[in-house]
């Protein structure tokens, strides 16, 4: 099903909305500790792939084999949407999904939700184990805020932060769940050149420091070509090509798909 050196293997994934085949028999495989890119023109189905493997959508057919952080191999398609993060795969959203009313620290703590073991009763009575657990993750959240270059902003509300900061908070939140695979939907969208460059360095650093793999969807080709070791290009839900950045850049059908769309 899934070789040991792989973290995720998507097999014959398909989903359609009405008559539209958003993802069409798509297969690709990500190796452990790899940074993998998924590219394609607007409406190619990239976000839909994310929604299928994180179970926001249930695919019509296909599998998504995953090596969980518990050491098991599971088909993500058989799991519930809220169980995915606990297995070791965590996502961001194309349109930044944060809790505006809460502080940056609290938003990061939500990222650790799947890690919490104490329940509502232990929290209500502030049992020792609940207090210790809360403190443990608060400390972790503070260090990740620091790591992401947001030090000192712990208590600030998320609402009203500049867009680049919001993107960073959302990325920081993924790190709280102790992930094996982080999937990022357009992490550079809305960022300027310098910010994008910083992001590229950060993604590479995260892969090392948190010992995980990264799957990213991105339109910014300097970012994609700069950080990804392998890339899968799709169009109209179908795979066009897969390979190294150089192979993808030189691929005839990839060029056509992009040129056909842009101007």
């Amino acid at each position: 099903m899934l070789p040991n050196k792989s973290i995720l293997k998507v097999e014959h994934l398909s989903i359609s909305f009405g008559g539209l085949k958003a993802v069409d028999d798509l297969s690709f495989e990500i190796a452990q500790n790899q940074i993998y890119g998924l590219i394609g023109p607007n409406g190619a189905g990239k976000t839909t792939v994310f929604n299928c493997i994180t179970k926001f959508y249930t695919p019509d057919s296909g599998n998504a084999w995953f090596h969980t952080k518990q050491g098991k191999t599971v088909n993500l398609v058989d799991h519930k949407v809220h169980d995915i993060v606990g297995l070791g795969m965590v996502r961001t959203f194309q349109n930044v999904e944060l809790i505006k009313e809460l502080s940056i620290l609290d938003n990061l703590l939500i990222g650790a939700h799947s890690q919490f073991k104490t329940g509502v009763l232990a929290q209500s009575f502030r049992l020792r184990k609940a207090v210790l657990e809360e403190n443990e993750y608060r400390t972790k959240a503070r260090s990740i805020i620091e790591y992401m270059g947001l030090g000192g902003k712990d208590a600030e509300l998320v609402g009203g932060q500049p867009y680049g900061t919001l993107k960073r908070i959302e990325l920081a939140r993924t790190l709280m769940s102790n992930p094996k695979l982080i999937i990022l939907d357009e992490p550079a969208a809305g960022l300027n050149g310098t910010e994008t460059q910083a992001l590229a360095g950060l993604i590479k650093q995260i892969r090392i420091d948190f010992n995980c793999s990264v799957l990213l969807v991105e339109h910014d080709m300097t970012l994609v070509m700069g950080v990804c070791e392998r890339i899968c290009a799709i169009s109209f839900g179908k795979k066009l090509a897969e390979g190294t950045p150089t192979e993808i850049r030189n691929n005839q059908s990839v060029q056509e798909a992009y040129l056909g769309k842009d101007e």
């Binding site: 949407v81 995915i84 965590v90 944060l98 809790i99 809460l102 939500i110 799947s114 929290q123 939140r173």
Partner: protein, 351 residues
Amino acid sequence: MNKSTTFLPTLMPMLRLAWKKAWFRYVSFGVVLAALPLIPGMTSSNATILGSVVYFSIAALGFQVLLGYSGQISLGHTAFIGVGAYVSGYIVKELGLPFPLAVLAAAVLPFILGLVLGLIALRLEGYYLAIATLGLAESIRIVFIEAHGFTRGFSGFFSNYPRVLGYQFNKGSTYVFMVAILVALMILVYNFINAATGRALAAMRSSQSAAQAMGVSLFKYKLMAFAISTGFAGIAGAMYMHFFRYSDPTIWNSGLSLNLVVACIVGGIASIEGAVIGAAFVVAMPELLRIVPGLGSINGASFVLSGVVIILVLLFYPGGLVNVASDIGKLRSRLSKGSKHPERSTEYVAE
């Protein structure tokens, strides 16, 4: 005089420190609330109104978990208060079992009822919970009317002040007991709202996608919030039964269910203090209207006014009455800025 001047400077910082702790604020509030009936000139009927505020605060606090914190609505919560009232009354009066056991049962039974109803209604998206609770409340009211052996129907169920370990409560001590229960529940709610559970609920209200992606089961948290609210309603019912020592089916009507909604919105949505302030508002308003000549005799005047107030609050003051004090403070500091007390205004800004 001399003593207090040396005593105060050491006491004030300690108090200020303690005031930062929610439990200290709630206990202080409880002490003041418990002492209110002792105010000279307090009539017995005013003390009864206070009892009403406290029992209804317990129900409103639970309802705040549902409406304010989990973002769901129920239109039949009064039925769960009624169940708590009859169950506790029956256990003490008919079965002769101890009062604490009756309170426990009055919490657990509605809690389980809430779980079961939630398991069915929450599987469906949308307003099914509101409709299901409305329907269940009507069925339960019919049970209250018809199950004569259990509720005495319209003749009414009479009970006594609590008796615990040989100590017989009277009206005053029952009131203090209710305040203690309210304060304890406020602290418990504060604790879990300011922990992982509260964050999960906040995430669920603000971005369901984010909540789910971070591992929050919407179903689990909706169900939990609902069952907590029905459990609290049951406790409120037990308090009612042993403070007013009477229950009949007309008390547990749908107007009372709506009052829970009004209390949480007018007092301040997603606020523990707001639930209590809102409960005081809905209990006190009809009493105040009664004093107004002409209005008091109009049937349903308070009902209409509730509707008007809820619309006014939603439109112009969505934070609810709980913000009045801090807003007045802000207004005062803004007014004093640049005029009489410039040094004081900078102090406000620094905070």
